[in-house]
């Protein structure tokens, strides 16, 4: 499970807080990996700009199916206060399909964990769908 950033680092710190003893997201078996090939959930913070657009796309493409994208923070959801900047695309969903939106500036660790757990449900549904699709072939 995975995470990438292009934000003001406010949400990034909250994402890291999820891994600390206080919130301990590993209770749900979730670990933060740097390898997209072994990841299920693409946690992404910040409103994507023209420079890292390609990076986000590439990371998304490298993740094997089934996969879920969770946009963390208001910037990742819609662009937030940076929406009108000339270099900002305004949200992750302008580049890749997003499954879960976690609002907030910065998003609270509780809501991030909630978003990830919602993402796990979507992941399970996608997995079953993928298996049915594979069976038909």
């Amino acid at each position: 499970m995975h995470y990438d950033a292009s934000s003001c680092n406010g949400c990034d710190i909250e994402v890291l807080a999820c891994l600390t003893p206080v919130y301990d997201v590993e209770r749900f078996g979730v670990i933060n990996t740097g390898d997209p090939k072994q990841a299920d959930i693409f946690l992404i913070t910040g409103a994507v700009n023209d420079q890292n657009k390609e990076v986000v796309k590439q990371l998304y493409d490298q993740m094997p199916e089934p996969k879920v994208v969770v946009a963390v923070g208001v910037c990742a959801c819609s662009g937030g206060v940076f929406k009108d900047c000339y270099n900002i695309l305004g949200g992750v969903d302008k580049v890749i399909p997003v499954d879960v939106y976690v609002p907030g500036c910065a998003a609270r660790p509780e809501s991030i964990i909630d978003g990830v757990v919602k993402g796990l449900d979507i992941l399970e549904k996608k997995r079953l769908k993928l298996r049915e699709g594979g069976g038909k072939r």
Partner: protein, 289 residues
């Protein structure tokens, strides 16, 4: 009679080995979490992970990589089977090295710089570890007059007393072989990673799952080697061996959480110094007695 016990042990390893290894990996994650003041994942989380990876899409840079990883898994099982069947210890060591070679080849076969650096580091760690187990085999031969695991067990006394130096060196090398923290430079299991996932960077889906299963087999086999030091052919020896092996596992988890990653130079130097001083020292002591 005793032949049947060895065959049963061998079959038991192939069938039950991965389950034991899985629980060991779960205990590892649980104890690590508790050491960091966290609750930690469920005990069987490694099993859930492997099940999940089996169901995932397979993205592979080339076909040969999956083949190499499968051969790594196969030879890891073969190594353990040879060991638990009470056969030649030298064959176990060579088979272990062969399995290792295939894992390194798998990592080298992809174009990713991360997996290539991981493969290079794995070779350095192997260079640090191999002398220790070779000297271990020599010491067993000098003590019992045989390389055969069954002869070593039926020797009648615990080998750990005359082989104490080698035992300590082996415990030191275990950290390298299990890829625990001071020497996890090629492939780390926990969140602390520096070259993405090292050798496993390009592994996904079923390939990654088989790598995990191979690690379970490997852990059980290495702990079996720890227990061999205490085996004296009786139930007492077996129980003491298993208890010490489990203690060694907890010790490895403690070391893993207590140390930062070291460079390959440190790994190589410390491996050779510990291996040569304790190992060769042990050989000298055996020669003198």
């Amino acid at each position: 009679m005793s032949e049947w016990i060895w065959i049963a042990m061998c079959i038991l390893f192939v069938v039950v080995g991965p389950l034991v290894g899985c629980v060991l990996a779960g205990i590892d994650r649980k104890i690590s979490a508790r050491m960091q003041n966290r609750v930690g994942p469920p005990l069987l989380q490694p099993l859930y992970d492997v099940k999940k990876f089996m169901a995932k899409e397979q993205i592979t840079p080339n076909k040969v990589q999956d083949f190499y990883v499968m051969v790594f898994l196969l030879f890891t099982i073969v190594t353990g089977a040879i060991f638990f069947a009470g056969m030649d210890l030298l064959l176990v060591i060579f088979s272990l090295t062969l399995a290792e070679t295939f894992l390194v080849l798998a990592a080298y076969s992809s174009g990713s710089v991360y997996s290539q650096i991981g493969a290079q580091r794995e070779l350095y760690v192997a260079m640090a570890f191999e002398p220790i187990i070779l000297i271990m085999a020599i010491c067993y031969y000098m003590h019992t007059g045989s390389f055969s695991v069954s002869d070593i067990v039926e020797n009648g006394s615990m080998s750990v007393v005359p082989l104490l130096g080698v035992f300590i060196a082996f415990i030191f090398g275990l950290t390298m072989k299990l890829r625990k923290s001071p020497f996890d430079l090629s492939l780390s299991h926990h969140a602390h990673q520096d070259i993405v996932r090292g050798m496993a960077t390009e592994f996904s889906g079923r390939t990654y799952a088989s790598l995990e299963v191979a690690h379970w087999y490997e852990s059980v086999m290495l702990l079996g080697m720890v227990a061999l030091f205490f085996a004296d052919g009786t139930w007492v020896g077996a129980v003491v061996g298993i208890v010490v092996a489990l203690l060694a596992w907890v010790l490895e988890i403690w070391i893993d959480n207590g140390f930062a990653r070291m460079t390959w130079q440190t790994a190589l130097k410390s491996g050779w110094i510990v291996g040569l001083v304790l190992g060769v020292g042990n050989v000298a002591v055996l020669l003198l007695i």
